[in-house]
């Protein structure tokens, strides 16, 4: 059923790409019989030190104010933290309350939806505000799968060990414990809601291997895992009658006089109207930051991934953890230009596709962790000069035809329908030709620090879940652990927020913390000329740029 939508008579590849592809095809037979060498721990260390964007100082700037003052962050994030509020100088009347609720959830992705369902089930009045439409989120895009140690040869300890090593031993132990111990329960919860997991006839989950995983632990729904999970969660939220307010961004947290989180200032994305939401507890589930394009990288993320939650929470006094570490997905699409940055799911590597340089050589084991694989590609392209030329840069091959050769014809069509379709739109049949990839900004490893109940330590009644959290995954997240974290910590935040809401009495509302933060900006002499959070990246071309003298 999948057919090319744009028919190209000539090959979609350039002559130099075709030439390199011949070399790749020449080595394929031999590569199918063997496995590329794995790197030693020391080799990996050296590679990361030299080539991973996190490990240098370039592209970073020091945070000057707030709880993380003195630490570094990508310069785009630092600029957000050094910017004024969107309501700077406005005297908003906090007594004009538009929404009054028990639990306010900011963000309509997987974490927000999970939290909403749990808080609702706990008997609370719940409301979700989300910037675009409910479900428009990174959660909708997860392709590869979701981890959980539910097989006989696996255990929560094994899962813990993989994630700890993958995270370079920086994971907060109690949070990681929660992640792995709640794995099976979370998958079962999703199954009970009707998520269509890939299963054998008898109901046994089909589980896949993946970079950095010592067991086949990745559960999937074809290559639409996130879409399948998110649309089911969204449907459940709707069916439960939870109040969803679309196209509405939270732009500042509101505290009460005692310093507890007590709501948020909202902005209608379509009309610009400000609205006050008052709540007994608040859950931040605003996701990642890919659209900030740290270090100039393209991104796999959705349109609204602009670190808003981090900015709001920081202004209110929360500290960030590992805000300087970003996950670059090794296989973002490098070609054609229309797909630049779009994810080629890790499952493609998991089922055997090699990473190949311009000469047709496998330069890194395809199952290395993401940071190692991404760094190896950057080294291959920029230090070894063995990348394949693409318009405006370089990329490497991902040898996708190997997949059907290893697993039998039809494997790509059944296991990777989304990928097949994506490239087919541009006349590239990944069953027959390899595809070109280059690292893309994929995941914000760091975020707002939380404690064991999903609560922040600095602001009572404030909870965080999902990609906005820092600490669960240390300094590098393993594939499939984020969708799990979204469900585990989403549910946890919902439960905790509901519990606390029951005994909360809200004091009078204030935005003094915003004024106070702006005073710090002023005394430090910082002025970016911009307001934050930015809510959406500015992609509109400046149509008057060449009209002015």
């Amino acid at each position: 059923m999948i057919k090319p939508m744009v028919m190209t008579k000539e090959s979609p590849f350039t002559p130099s790409m075709m030439e390199s592809m011949k070399k790749l095809e020449a080595t394929r037979e031999k590569r199918l019989q063997s496995e590329p060498k794995r790197m030693s721990a020391d080799e990996k260390r050296a590679l990361l030190d030299e080539f991973h964007p996190d490990y240098g100082d370039k592209g970073f700037a020091k945070i000057e104010i707030g709880p993380n003052a003195g630490e570094k962050a990508p310069k785009e994030l630092t600029a957000l933290l050094h910017s004024k509020s969107r309501i700077s100088g406005l005297d908003l009347d906090l007594d004009k309350i538009e929404f009054d609720t028990d639990v306010l959830i900011i963000g309509g992705g997987g974490a927000g939806a999970s939290a909403a369902i749990k808080a609702h089930k706990a008997g609370c009045n719940v409301m979700i505000v989300t910037k675009l439409r409910m479900g428009d989120s990174n959660s909708m895009m997860a392709e590869g799968g979701i981890q959980a140690s539910d097989k006989e040869n696996d255990s929560p300890m094994q899962h813990y060990l993989d994630a700890m090593g993958g995270g370079h031993y920086y994971n907060k132990p109690e949070l990681l414990r929660r992640l792995v111990m709640d794995g099976a329960k979370s998958i079962q919860w999703l199954e009970g809601l009707g998520v269509l997991f890939d299963k054998h006839e008898d109901g046994t989950m089909i589980t896949f291997p993946g970079g950095g995983l010592s067991r086949k632990r990745l559960h999937a729904c074809a290559d639409y895992t996130g879409a399948e999970i998110t649309r089911v969660l969204r449907d459940e939220v709707q069916n439960l009658g939870i109040n969803i307010v679309d196209y509405t961004a939270a732009i500042e947290l509101i505290l009460d006089k005692d310093g507890n989180a007590a709501g948020a200032v909202l902005e209608n994305m379509l009309t610009g109207e400000y609205l006050v939401a008052r709540a007994k507890t608040v859950v931040i589930a605003t996701g990642g930051a890919g659209r900030m394009h740290y270090h100039g990288f393209p991104t796999t993320n959705h349109y609204g991934a602009t670190a808003d939650g981090l900015v709001m929470a920081y202004r209110a006094g929360c500290n960030l953890l590992y805000q300087d570490t970003i996950q670059y997905h090794p296989t973002g699409t490098a070609y054609p230009v229309q797909l630049f940055g779009a994810l080629v799911t890790e499952k493609v590597r998991a089922v055997g596709a090699n990473l190949i340089n311009v000469n047709g050589d496998a330069f890194v084991h395809h199952l290395e962790t993401r940071d190692v694989a991404a760094s190896a590609i950057i080294r291959e392209c920029h230090a070894n000069n063995l990348g394949v030329d693409i318009p405006g840069g370089a990329g490497v091959w991902l040898d996708t035809p190997m997949i059907d050769m290893i697993h039998g014809d039809g494997k790509i069509a059944s296991a990777l329908p989304g990928m097949l379709r994506m490239f087919m739109n541009y006349g590239i049949d990944m069953r027959k030709t390899p595809v070109l990839v280059y690292p893309s900004f994929h995941y914000q490893n760091g975020g707002i620090e939380i404690e064991a109940d999903g609560n922040t330590s600095h602001i009572p009644n404030l909870f965080v879940a999902g990609e906005a959290v820092g600490g669960i995954h240390g300094r590098n997240r393993l594939l499939g652990n984020s969708m799990l974290d979204v469900v585990v910590f989403g549910r946890l935040a919902g439960q905790s927020a509901a519990k606390v809401a029951k005994s909360t009495k809200i004091g009078s509302l204030t935005l003094d913390h915003v004024k106070c933060y702006e005073n710090q900006i002023a005394s430090a002499g910082l002025d970016t000329g911009e307001a934050s959070p930015i809510l959406l990246p500015k992609y509109a071309r400046d149509v008057n740029a060449d009209k002015l003298k």
Binding site: M5, M140, Y160, L196, K199, S214, L240, Y303, V337, A540
Partner: protein
């Protein structure tokens, strides 16, 4: 010189580089999108776009983020279509023969015009999956509708007022929850964890110094 294409957004003419998608071409034209843009990579269905090429009678149906502009393209976007959401309780909704009749009776008014299939931005056989739902074959409906991104274009075209994507979603939820056998090993693991079966081993592992955990990690056996 970059090759340019003449396109029309909401009837208004713009010249845009011809290698852009409809979405990036709108941004090139100067639109700062708020509606009609979500994932930007073909998953969320926020960017349904209907276009007609100059001189053609038949409109085309696509996702703006996944479709290259073409010369003489007249584009309208469909950021939202009011679907007929039904608040069913999945715990009480069973995969019986009547369930579709109870929740989405309009599917039985399908006139077989095939407008839904012809307008699917993902190339799905939509009318077929509705037919599966009608005759209670929920598993087949689930598979056939799996790639649906709920852009809503088919529902905008349907003379029988069907909310196709919601029908597919119900069929998938019924299949996932009731029709496919449950994963016993997952349930068993959840019970064992709740019973504290792993607590001691977990505590021992967590208590180890970093060097020892590192040692375990570096030498762990990797399942082939």
């Amino acid at each position: 010189m970059q090759e340019m294409a003449n396109v029309y957004f909401d009837g208004k003419h713009y010249q845009v580089p011809s290698d852009l998608t409809i979405m990036t071409a709108m941004e090139y034209a100067g639109y700062q999108l708020v509606r009609g843009c979500g994932c930007r990579h073909g998953f969320c269905g926020a960017c349904g776009a209907i276009y007609r090429l100059k001189g053609e009678t038949r409109p085309h149906f696509s996702l703006a983020c996944q479709t290259k502009v073409e010369e003489g393209m007249y584009v309208a976007t469909l950021p939202f279509f009011p679907l007929n959401n039904k608040n069913y309780n999945i715990e009480e909704t069973k995969p019986t023969d009547q369930v579709m009749m109870e929740i989405f009776p309009e599917i039985y008014a399908c006139v077989g015009c095939n407008a839904c299939t012809k307008s699917c931005s993902r190339g799905l056989n939509t009318m077929q999956y509705i037919a599966y739902a009608k005759r209670g074959d929920y598993e087949k409906c689930a598979t056939a509708s799996f790639d649906c991104v709920a852009c809503g274009i088919c529902s905008a075209r349907c003379p029988a007022n069907i909310s196709h994507c919601l029908v597919g979603l119900l069929a998938r939820r019924l299949t996932g929850k009731y029709i496919m056998p449950p994963a016993d090993h997952t349930a068993k693991r959840a019970i064992d964890i709740a019973a504290g079966k792993f607590d001691a081993d977990m505590a021992t592992l967590m208590a180890k110094p970093k060097e020892e955990i590192k040692e375990l990690y570096d030498n762990r056996e990797i399942e082939k």
